[in-house]
C-alpha cells in the first residue's frame, strides 16, 4: 500500500519509484512517441523537449522559439528573463521537472550537463464553452453552467463574488491523476472549524485516479454507506455563489463540471434554486408541493399494498366498488402486482437515461402507453395501481437534486416489502428505521434533520417554507457562521404604522 500514498505534492507519482536521476526521467519520457526532443537553433544550441500533445504550438513558436532564435546563446537564468512567460522556473529538482513537464511545460537545457533546466509552462488545453444547465434547469434566472475546466469555473465564481474574502485553497488528489482540487469559502463568514474538517478529509483521500467530483463526494462525506446524499452536486455558478455567501463550503475539481456544496440539511435537497427566483409565497407553495410529491412518491404504492392486503376496512364503502372492479380479475397478490409495475417503471427510467435523447422519447411512448395499456388489458395489473405508480414516478421527477431522486427511487422498495409484511404498521416501522438513520446522520458534522432537530426556529424561515428576503436577516444557524448577520440595515419606519389614506 505504501506505493499509493500520493497525498502531498512532494510525493508526486509515488505510485512508481521516483526517477533516480535526470537520465532515468529522460529515458521514461522518451518512451512515449509524443515526447519531442530537438536541438535549437542548431546542433550546438539548446535542447528543447516537451510533450507535443500537451503544449500549445502557437505559443511555443511565437514566444519561445522566436525569442531563442534571435538571440545568442545565454545561460538559462538569463534566458528565463528574456522569455515573457509567467511561472517559468530554472531547477534541477527531478520531481518538479517531472511534474511541470507532465503539466505541459517546455523543458530547455543547455549543453552543460549540470542537470538544471528551464521550464516554461505553455499549456494547450481543450475547453468547452459554458452552456445551459441541464440537470438543474430553471426557467428564470441565469443560464450558465460549470464546465470541465477549473479555471473557467473559478472565473465564473469570482465574477459573481468580487471580494478578497473569497478564498480558494488548492489540493492535488489522486496518486496517479494528481487532479487539481479547490476548496472555496468566504473567509470571515464560514466556520473555520468546518473548513479544517473538509481540508483534513481531502488530505486523507487516498485513491489512484480521481476523475469526477462525485468520487471526492463519496470519499469525504460523513457516512459513506448512507443512501442519503450529504453533499449537494451543483452545476450552477449562481447556486454556488449564493450558498458560499451563506457560509457553506464549495469544492471544485479540475475536469468536473460540478461543484460540491456542504454542509446541507435534508431540506436543502428538496429546494430548487428557482424557489429563490420567484416571489416568496409562490416559492413556498411550490416547495411544499414538491415535499408532498416526495412523500406521495415514497408511500403511494406501498400504501396500496398495505391497504389491499390487510386493511381493506379502511377504504370507504363508496370507493370499494371501484377497487373491486379494477382488481377483481387480477390473479396476483397486490405485492407482486406492485413489484412488477414498479420494476417496469424503473426499467423504463434506466433505459431512458442510458439512451440518447432522441431515442429516449420513443422509449417513453413504448413503455408508458403501450406496455401500460397492454398490462392492464391483459389483466396483469390493476388500473388503480397503474395510476398510482405512474403518479409516483411523475412526483419523483419533481425533486430538483439528482442524487436524492435516486435515493427516493430505491427507498420505495423496502417500504413495499414492509407493507407486505405488516401492512400499515410495517410502513410505520420502516419509516422509524429511516428516521433512526436520519437522526444519526450528519453533513460535515452538522445535523441532517436541522432545523427540526435540533430545533432552530430561525432556520425555519428558509426550510419547508421560504419567507421573503427581508425576513432572512441572519445566515442559517446550523452553519455556525462567524458572521451571522445578513441584513445590517434596520427596518426603516415600520409600515404597519401607516394609517389609511396617509
Amino acid at each position: 500500500m505504501k506505493f499509493f500514498k500520493g497525498k502531498r505534492e512532494t510525493d508526486v507519482a509515488a505510485f512508481q519509484e521516483a526517477p533516480k536521476d535526470f537520465h532515468d526521467l529522460q529515458r521514461k519520457l522518451k518512451a512515449s512517441h509524443d515526447f519531442h526532443t530537438f536541438q535549437f537553433p542548431d546542433e550546438e544550441g539548446y535542447t528543447i523537449s516537451y510533450f507535443n500533445s500537451l503544449v500549445n504550438d502557437q505559443k511555443l513558436q511565437e514566444h519561445i522559439l522566436a525569442v531563442i532564435k534571435n538571440q545568442p546563446m545565454r545561460s538559462l537564468q538569463r534566458l528565463k528573463g528574456d522569455i515573457p512567460m509567467e511561472a517559468s522556473k530554472v531547477t534541477s529538482d527531478i520531481v518538479i521537472i517531472q511534474r511541470m513537464v507532465m503539466a505541459g511545460s517546455v523543458m530547455i537545457q543547455t549543453k552543460k550537463a549540470d542537470g538544471s533546466c528551464l521550464l516554461i509552462p505553455c499549456v494547450h488545453s481543450v475547453k468547452r464553452q459554458t452552456s445551459i444547465p441541464e440537470s438543474e434547469y430553471t426557467v428564470a434566472g441565469p443560464k450558465e453552467a460549470f464546465v470541465e475546466s477549473l479555471d473557467t469555473n473559478l472565473n465564473l465564481i469570482r465574477n459573481r463574488l468580487p471580494t478578497p474574502e473569497l478564498q480558494a485553497r488548492e489540493f492535488r488528489v489522486g496518486s496517479i491523476s494528481q487532479t487539481k482540487l479547490v476548496v472555496l469559502y468566504l473567509d470571515g463568514i464560514v466556520n473555520q472549524q468546518m473548513v479544517e474538517t473538509v481540508m483534513q478529509r481531502i488530505a486523507d483521500i487516498d485513491y489512484d485516479t480521481i476523475v469526477d467530483i462525485s468520487f471526492v463526494g463519496q470519499m469525504i462525506t460523513d457516512n459513506r454507506n448512507s443512501m442519503f446524499p450529504q453533499l449537494i452536486d451543483t452545476e450552477r455558478p449562481d447556486h454556488l455563489a449564493t450558498v458560499l455567501s451563506e457560509g457553506k463550503i464549495g469544492i471544485m475539481l479540475d475536469g468536473s463540471p460540478h461543484a460540491l456544496v456542504g454542509p446541507n440539511t435534508i431540506i436543502s435537497f428538496f429546494s430548487s434554486f428557482e424557489d429563490y427566483l420567484q416571489i416568496w409565497n409562490l416559492g413556498t407553495s411550490f416547495r411544499l408541493i414538491r415535499l408532498f410529491a416526495v412523500l406521495f412518491s415514497i408511500f403511494s404504492s406501498s400504501l396500496y399494498v398495505a391497504v389491499i392486503t390487510y386493511h381493506y376496512q379502511v377504504i370507504p364503502t363508496d370507493l370499494l366498488p371501484i377497487l373491486i372492479s379494477s382488481r377483481g380479475v387480477i390473479p396476483f397478490p397486490p405485492i407482486l402486482e406492485a413489484i412488477v409495475l414498479e420494476g417496469t417503471i424503473e426499467l423504463l427510467r434506466e433505459a431512458a437515461v442510458r439512451l440518447p435523447a432522441k431515442v429516449g422519447s420513443t422509449i417513453g411512448i413504448v413503455g408508458g402507453i403501450v406496455i401500460g395499456t397492454a398490462a392492464v388489458e391483459a389483466g396483469f395489473v390493476s388500473n388503480v395501481l397503474l395510476m398510482l405508480v405512474a403518479l409516483a414516478a411523475l412526483a419523483s421527477f419533481t425533486v430538483p437534486i439528482y442524487q436524492i431522486s435516486n435515493t427516493i427511487r430505491l427507498i420505495r422498495f423496502p417500504f413495499l416489502l414492509a407493507a407486505q409484511l405488516y401492512g400499515l404498521f410495517g410502513l410505520v416501522i420502516c419509516s422509524a428505521f429511516i428516521l433512526s438513520h436520519l437522526l444519526k446522520l450528519t453533513s460535515l458534522g452538522s445535523p441532517y434533520l436541522e432545523p427540526l432537530y435540533p430545533m432552530r426556529f430561525h432556520d425555519f424561515k428558509d426550510s419547508l417554507i421560504r419567507l421573503p428576503f427581508s425576513k432572512q436577516k441572519k445566515r442559517p444557524q446550523f452553519l455556525r457562521t462567524e458572521d451571522g448577520i445578513r441584513i445590517r440595515k434596520k427596518d426603516e419606519a415600520r409600515r404597519s404604522q401607516k394609517d389609511i389614506d396617509e
Partner: protein
C-alpha cells in the same frame, strides 16, 4: 468513572419539555380512562390534576437533589455519595430492574394492542424482534438521537388529537356532573391508578448530566409534566363526554375506540392508522427506558453500554415471550406499577430527605 458527557452529546434545556411527555405518554393513554373511571367515575379528572401536581412536586425534588452536590450529579452519583459504593450499587440495581420492567410493560402492552386491533394471529417473536432491532438502532445513536425521536414522535402523532372532533360532535358534557360525587378516598385511589401513566419523569435523574444549561431546564420539565397532564385531561374529558361513565367502565381502550368513529370521505376505520402511528409515541418510551437502564448500569458497574444494551434487549425479548397471556400480563402490570408507585412516592422523597440530612451534617453548602 466519567460523569460529564462530551460537549457534543448534550441537548439544550428546551428539549426536556419533550423528554417528559416522551416517556410519560405511551400506550397508557389509549386505555387509562376505564381504570380511573372505575375508581372515581366522572370525578377522575380531579385525580389526573392531583397526580399531575404531585408529580410536579417530585420533579422539583429531583432538581433540588441534583443541584445540591458540588458537581453535576446523577442518580448513580447520588447513591454512591449517600450510601457508599456497595449499598449504593444495590439501590442502583433496583432502579435498573425498575427501568427494565416498565419498558417490558410498555412493549408488551403495545404488542397486545397490535394483536387485538390489527393482527390477531401475528407471530409475536418476529414482530418483537423487529421492534427491538429498531430500538437498538435508535439507542446506539445515543441520547441525542433518542431526544430527537421524542420530539419527532410527538410531532408525528400530534395530528391525531384532531380526531377528537368526531366524538365531540356527539359530546354530552353534562356527563361530567355531578362534580365531587365521589369520596376523597375514591379520588385518591384513582390517583394511585393514575401513577403508572405519569411514570418516567424520574429518568431526569439519569439524563440530567446531558442537559446543556441544567439550571434553565427546570421550567421546561414542569411544563412537560403539565403538557402530559393536559393530554390525559383532554382524553379523559372527551371520553367521559362521549361515553356514559357506566359504559366507560366496559371500554378497555377508550381513546382507541374513539378513533373508530372518525369518518372521512377517503378513510374509514381510522384506528388502523392510529395504532400504527402510535408506534412513534411508544418508541420514545421504550428507547428512553432501555437507554436509562443501560446508562445506569454503565455508570454503576463500568461495563460498556453497547454490551449492556444487547443484554437488556434480550431480557426484554424473553420477558415478553414469557408474558403470553392476559393473566400474566395483568399480574406483571400490577406488580410493576406497585414498584413504580413506591419508588416515586416513597423512595424519592425519602432519598430527598436523607440527602438533605446528610448534607446538613456534613456542612455542605445547601
Amino acid at each position: 468513572m466519567e460523569i460529564k458527557p462530551n460537549e457534543t452529546k448534550l441537548i439544550s434545556a428546551f428539549f426536556v419539555f419533550f423528554l417528559m411527555p416522551g416517556m410519560q405518554i405511551g400506550v397508557g393513554v389509549l386505555g387509562f380512562e376505564r381504570i380511573i373511571a372505575k375508581e372515581a367515575g366522572q370525578d377522575a379528572w380531579i385525580s389526573i390534576i392531583i397526580s399531575g401536581v404531585t408529580i410536579n412536586i417530585l420533579v422539583w425534588m429531583c432538581y433540588k437533589m441534583l443541584g445540591r452536590g458540588t458537581q453535576t450529579l446523577d442518580l448513580v452519583a447520588i447513591h454512591h455519595d449517600l450510601f457508599g459504593k456497595w449499598a449504593g450499587n444495590a439501590f442502583n440495581s433496583l432502579f435498573i430492574i425498575y427501568f427494565i420492567s416498565i419498558t417490558i410493560i410498555i412493549v408488551r402492552t403495545y404488542l397486545e394492542v397490535i394483536q387485538v386491533w390489527m393482527f390477531p394471529g401475528v407471530n409475536i417473536l418476529m414482530l418483537l424482534s423487529i421492534i427491538l432491532i429498531l430500538v437498538y438502532s435508535f439507542v446506539v445513536g445515543g441520547f441525542r438521537v433518542i431526544t430527537g425521536l421524542c420530539l419527532i414522535g410527538l410531532i408525528i402523532t400530534s395530528p391525531l388529537i384532531l380526531l377528537n372532533y368526531f366524538p365531540l360532535k356527539h359530546a354530552h358534557f353534562e356527563n361530567l356532573g355531578p362534580v365531587l360525587d365521589h369520596s376523597f378516598l375514591e379520588i385518591m385511589k384513582a390517583c394511585k391508578k393514575m401513577t403508572l401513566n405519569y411514570l418516567g419523569f424520574e429518568l431526569l435523574l439519569v439524563y440530567y448530566p446531558f442537559i446543556k444549561k441544567r439550571e434553565h431546564s427546570q421550567k421546561w420539565a414542569h411544563f412537560g409534566v403539565l403538557f402530559t397532564m393536559a393530554v390525559y385531561l383532554n382524553s379523559f374529558i372527551v371520553s367521559i363526554a362521549y361515553y356514559h361513565q357506566d359504559q366507560l367502565k366496559d371500554v378497555i381502550w377508550a381513546t382507541l375506540t374513539l378513533w373508530k368513529i372518525a369518518d372521512l370521505p377517503f378513510i374509514e376505520r381510522f384506528e388502523y392508522i392510529g395504532v400504527s402511528l402510535w408506534l412513534f409515541m411508544v418508541l420514545p418510551n421504550i428507547c428512553l427506558g432501555i437507554w436509562a437502564a443501560s446508562r445506569t448500569a454503565k455508570r454503576a458497574f463500568g461495563v460498556r453500554q453497547r454490551k449492556l444494551l444487547v443484554m437488556i434487549l434480550l431480557v426484554i425479548l424473553f420477558a415478553c415471550i414469557f408474558l403470553d397471556n392476559r393473566i400474566k400480563i395483568d399480574l406483571f402490570n400490577t406488580i410493576s406499577s406497585h414498584i413504580g408507585f413506591y419508588i416515586i412516592y416513597v423512595y424519592l422523597p425519602l432519598l430527598f430527605l436523607w440527602q438533605m440530612i446528610v448534607y446538613k451534617l456534613r456542612g455542605h453548602k445547601s
